[in-house]
Subunit: 380 residues, 2 copies
């Protein structure tokens, strides 16, 4: 299906990002999977070439265009290459809006240049060992003491958690007020009392560092409060739709690439004297998957347009998140099956896609939570 | 559901096998997963305790009872423990019948004692790089030369492929005759020209050695022909139903254990102030999975009875193979989802079950091939 979303300038951007991946990511990704983390150098290179913070103001080294299509291109090409270790999408799609929209001038000057140059890798820490879906149940708290917030608590499953230099930590600054007492504090690399736990051992996304973080009496300067005190939960609610659409962008691209590789495999692989694509079952399965991939693509592209026009609703973002990722997981499972025994071998890209994809229906809000959100909107 | 399949003697056997697993497998399995192969010592210990070759005659050190319930117990308990590296099921359920039923007296004397003592680890090599589902398409061939067969070809995906001492190789001994020209040749560890390739890197079953094997002018003595020349394909057809039921036994046990651990998890894990088992969606999902697990268990136990009475048809074995394994894969996927982010962490047994299980719908004949077999029986 022809996509009508992009203009020529986007395609030039895509071309240059592809080249970047070929030159700086492709030769290293297997090594990064071994070491369970990417080298920081790839961030700096990405920054140098303008792939980080396309939406940040030019004065800080950003691209100066708030157009989610650029974000989508980075995510799509990263996904198509199977480069699941690269945390740019979290940096650009999830963290950037907080820094661009909530940071004051002084903070922007401190953080955005590094954000855009790739020297400051970012993360956002909401989830805790005891609570993920129920964000309101977090226990991490910060108490004001003079010019500092004293932060205590622990977070888990934090993407870029080992590499991150700047971490937006969701903390409770007023326990009386529940979710109205949440604030966003930016924790920096070397603050005393901030420790990183293990780099978690996951089913897939092997080159992605996902970590536990702990905060023991960390003195976070008041100057590191992002936005207003007590507004944290609202900021999160405002930004989660973009995070969710961003995960749907991964889903659509992952479906297209798994489908393509499987169609090719079914053309090439022979059994009983013909290519396995000639069996009616194969054709029907692939016909269904091709249809679902097209439907997914149409939804995602439409929602990118809506997001760009500031019209994407919370419910629509939730629809995109659960539906596309469940489609993705199912499609990759069916594609693996069509690879026979080779589908179970890690050297085959479909096996890697299988392991990488399974988290998609979980992080950024589970399928169940997305359905809750949509259901709430139905006035039942 | 209460199972009525077993007698007290089976339960004693189960108890002793469980103890064996606790003592000799549990402390080592993680290490074996690291090294991608189990230590041979565990085979010898299993042999010593009577868990290998329960169906082999007592004079050769076997259990002397042809009762698939003993096989099922070994498989069930191995599966419940998550000990996917242990290749006993292949040895007992798949290879044993060939040796017990087809070997002549001289061969029995040479092989069965080691088979039962665990000193001779076995494998069966049908699949080739170019053909799996289409067994008739194999290219490995053996040409008679004096008292030997000269064997050439290569096999892949062979379970126990690195550890195996005895490998039943399916070869074409009369190319004119197609499948009527297949024979089974037993290749032994040190035969010149027999080489093992890589230990394949799989999505799961990390402690299981799965290998490529190659044969270059291997001189296999005529005395290592199993059964009659040209009967290989028929022997395979006779024995594949037991192999398929054996895979269904894994599926049923894996479903029960994944369901149990997930129910427990949903009782313990809290979100929004209650255990996640209290959400209606969780209850409905688990209600469906519990129903499917029960249906799977009933089918498997019934078919074990039929197999023991020599009444299990090829179609029924195919039904068991595809339906139970597809149920298993689906159930484990849904159970992983209910674990939230923890489901994606390798240290959680559900994550391991996810990676271990995916091959179940593929090996021993894919779901698609099973449906072909059943469909053929419907006289359409
Ligand atoms: C690889 C990875 C990267 C991640 N990156 C980040 C990150 O960068 N930053 C961050 O903050 N977090 C991150 N997360 C955490 C992720 O967002 C959470 O895992 C997710 O939100 C689910 O929370 P949980 O794991 O606590 O599951 P739980 O909330 O415990 O949920 C368990 C199960 O219960 C279900 N459930 C919960 N509530 C309900 C309900 N009301 N109705 C029905 N069912 C319900 C869930 O859907 C799920 O199936 C990451 C997780 C992973 C695995
Ligand atoms: C971990 C593991 C262990 C194994 N252990 C052993 C072992 O010990 N010994 C051994 O001999 N083999 C073993 N195998 C091989 C296994 O049996 C084969 O992988 C399996 O039979 C499928 O063959 P294939 O991989 O060549 O897939 P293919 O035959 O190439 O099939 C590819 C796809 O085409 C489909 N297809 C094929 N024919 C048809 C048709 N007629 N109609 C519709 N669809 C069709 C298949 O279902 C599959 O989805 C093992 C495999 C694995 C992964």
């Amino acid at each position: 299906m022809e996509r009508t979303l992009f203009e020529p300038e986007h395609e030039l951007f895509r071309e240059s990002y592809r080249k970047f991946l070929e030159q700086h990511v492709a030769p290293n990704h297997a090594k990064w999977e071994e070491q369970n983390i990417v080298d920081r150098g790839v961030w700096v290179e990405a920054g140098k070439q303008g792939f980080l913070g396309t939406a940040a103001p030019e004065e800080f080294g950003g691209g100066g265009v708030k157009d989610f299509r650029y974000n989508a291109i980075v995510t799509e090409e990263t996904t198509r290459g199977g480069y699941s270790g690269i945390g740019f999408t979290l940096h650009n799609d999830v963290v950037a809006p907080y820094l661009i929209e909530l940071a004051n001038d002084e903070q922007k000057q401190r953080w955005l240049p590094g954000f855009c140059s790739g020297e400051l890798i970012t993360a956002i820490a909401m989830t805790e060992p005891g609570t993920g879906s129920d964000l309101q149940g977090i226990k991490t708290k910060a108490v004001r003491d003079g010019d500092d917030w004293v932060l205590n608590g622990s977070k888990t499953f934090i993407t870029n958690g080992i590499n991150a230099d700047l971490i937006i930590v969701v903390a409770c600054t007023d326990p009386e007020k529940g979710a109205q007492g949440f604030s966003l504090l930016v924790v920096e690399r070397d603050m005393p009392g901030f420790e990183r736990g293990r780099n978690l051992d996951k089913i897939g996304m092997k080159a992605q560092d996902t970590a536990e973080l702990s905060f023991t009496d960390v003195r976070v300067p008041a100057a590191n409060l992002l936005g207003e005190e007590g507004m944290g939960f609202i900021y999160l609610m405002q930004n989660l739709p973009q995070e969710r659409l961003s995960i749907a962008v991964v889903a659509a691209a992952a479906m297209e690439s798994a489908l393509d590789m499987t169609i090719q495999y079914c053309r090439d692989r022979k059994a009983f004297g013909k290519s396995i694509g000639k069996f009616q079952n194969t054709r029907f399965v692939l016909a269904e998957l091709a249809t679902e991939t097209t439907a997914t693509r149409i939804m995602v592209d439409k929602f990118i347009e809506l997001l760009n026009a500031d019209k994407l609703t919370v419910q629509e973002a939730a629809m995109a998140k659960w539906w596309t990722t469940e489609n993705q997981v199912k499609l990759i499972d069916r594609c693996l099956q069509l690879h026979g025994g080779y589908g179970y071998m890690k050297e085959y890209p479909i096996a890697k896609a299988y392991m990488d994809s399974r988290v998609q229906t979980i992080y950024g809000g589970t399928t169940e939570i997305m359905k809750e959100i949509i259901g709430r909107g139905l006035n039942l």
